[in-house]
């Protein structure tokens, strides 16, 4: 198997799957069948590491079928404690039941110890380098609802794990979960290098708690300096990525390649004009939540080599041109915005 990192179209949520030489690392598992279907399609019998960046349902709930699959072994599941989550809900009971089932049958080990003090190389394997950049040790010791060492209150999102995975060919992908401004201020406090070639933008490109979304996005871009920015979004959630976030991304780097897993409503508001299944030929041959409903844009994406290797970027751009009324990944680029402003 060629080493690659797949960013799956799971609708609203996240799931990234890095595959090295006989070594797999999954980061987040949204409750979408595309997650288990991908494990089936790639005939994976083991996930060496499964990281839940934080306990929000769109990142954590999909681990339940993975834990319950008797044919699948999980080397270690890293799942954080979170005092902000109600322990009496059915969701918690289901997670605990799945964990108990997997542990009893020896299919999974569980750890809550995931922070930037994890010794270098602990999660590496199969040519993949896996670095835990956040939470910082100090934030992990405090946890959600506590006070961040950088100031402000830590939320579930703020305690999110931030991972950088480097493929054997050198491609670096930053997976920041739902990290917010508190997370990034904490990382700046300890001087963490966040540089990466590909950024899966945190929190699906929407940061309502951030005072200035555009500035936040620009600051994240300047810290990471990626050539490619991906948004894992569900079309059913309005306005993700937000125009402010996209503007911040594109003003930081007018040439950055931008792709969303699903077609944002900001780009095409009406479902009546969604494409037909035959128009989705550009999609990578991976399960994608939006494929059958024709809501995928780039769909599930494969990263390797110089960046996005599937879908083909030319085919993806042609699709965007055909389908979107107002493709925000283009119209918000500064040069185009200036042209529009001048012509009006």
């Amino acid at each position: 198997m060629t080493a690659a990192l797949h960013v799956l179209d799971v609708g609203h949520g996240n799931c990234a799957l890095a595959c090295g030489e006989n070594w797999t690392v999954m980061v987040d598992a949204a409750p979408d069948p595309a997650v288990v279907e991908t494990v089936d399609q790639l005939t994976l019998r083991r996930l060496d590491t499964l990281v839940v960046s934080h306990r929000d349902r769109d990142h954590a709930r999909g681990v339940v079928p993975l834990l319950s699959d008797r044919k699948l072994e999980i080397g270690c599941l890293f799942v954080p404690a979170d005092a902000a989550k109600d322990p009496t809900t059915p969701e918690t009971a289901l997670l605990l039941a799945a964990l108990g089932d997997a542990k009893r049958s020896g299919r999974c080990q569980v750890s809550r110890d995931l922070d930037d003090s994890l010794p270098e190389g602990t999660l590496d394997g199969g040519g993949l380098k896996v670095e835990v950049l956040a939470p910082t040790y100090a934030t992990a010791m405090t946890g959600p609802r506590g006070r961040s060492p950088a100031g402000g209150t830590i939320t579930s999102n703020g305690a999110s794990a931030v991972l950088r995975i480097t493929l054997p060919d050198g491609l670096r992908v930053l997976l920041p979960g739902d990290a917010d401004h508190v997370t990034f201020e904490d990382l700046a406090r300890v001087g963490t290098d966040l540089s990466a070639d590909v950024l899966v933008f945190p929190h699906h490109g929407s940061h309502s708690v951030v005072p200035d979304e555009e500035r936040f996005a620009r600051d994240v871009m300047l810290a990471v300096r990626p050539q490619t920015v991906l948004f894992s979004v569900g079309r059913q959630r309005r306005g993700r990525p937000t125009e402010a976030v996209l503007r911040g991304v594109l003003r930081a780097d007018a040439n950055v390649y931008v792709a969303c897993t699903q077609l944002s409503r900001g780009c095409l508001s009406s479902d009546e004009h969604l494409p037909r299944p035959t128009e989705l030929g550009h999609l990578a041959p991976l399960p994608a939540s939006g494929r059958s409903s024709c809501q995928s844009c780039a769909g599930s994406m494969t990263l390797s080599g110089a960046g996005l290797s599937a879908p083909n970027s030319v085919a993806h751009q042609a699709y965007v041109t055909t389908v979107a009324d107002r493709p925000l990944c283009r119209t918000l680029r500064p040069a185009l915005e200036d042209q529009v402003a001048q012509s009006s």
């Binding site: 009971a93 039941a97 799945a98």
Partner: protein, 250 residues
Amino acid sequence: MSVLELDSRLELPVGGGIRIVAVLDDDRGQAKAVGFQLEDEGLEALVVDLDEIPNVDDAVAWVSTRAHAVICDLQLSPMHDGIAYDGAQLVARLVSEHRIPCVLTTGFAPDVGMLVRPHRHTIPVLLTRDQTEQSDVLIEGLTRCASEIREGRDAGRRTYRVPLFVERAGMTQYGVALDARVGGWAHKTPMRFPARMLGDEYTSPAEAEALVGKVFFAHVNLGAKQEPDLFFEAPEVEFIEPDGQELHFG
């Protein structure tokens, strides 16, 4: 009369395409309306007189020898007191035993879960009454059912082993019902089903009530878009008290 080949997508037990479609509904006016729609699509509608087939064995035999496909309403009895079965029972047998493409229709009443869930794994297509007003949706439904009969379940109906958390138990006109949250499913709506699906001992309200707050494992189609589309198979009736028994669920 013409034969609808449907791009050769339907390989039917009789002939190479759908020609005769049986329509069963306790509301004969509704059955005729569906029949007219099918005739507009070039098919021959056979509006079935339910009085001729009072039990499900007779109905299976009668329909399977006269029709290439079936549109059947869930409720077959309210206007015909002598009918001892519902549409879910009939459709499940026609699909699984005779490989006849069927569409089950319903008003999505609250008790759909109680009547349909035990058979939902062998009922590929369930449409609302509103949807039956669109001929293309009916035809697409028959096509989808034929595809599952021929090629197996699509992604939306593939099952995965997951835990289910029993939230509630209660009595309905169709027996004791359980509501369970499905682990790993994208939606929070609990799935309603007859408690007897977990074993005959749970037909007692007290026994069913004792399951509340417990977890069991089963194979569920996680790709279901809405609760009526959910089903489960192979339940493992070893009820688990979730770890952390000091927690108060419910």
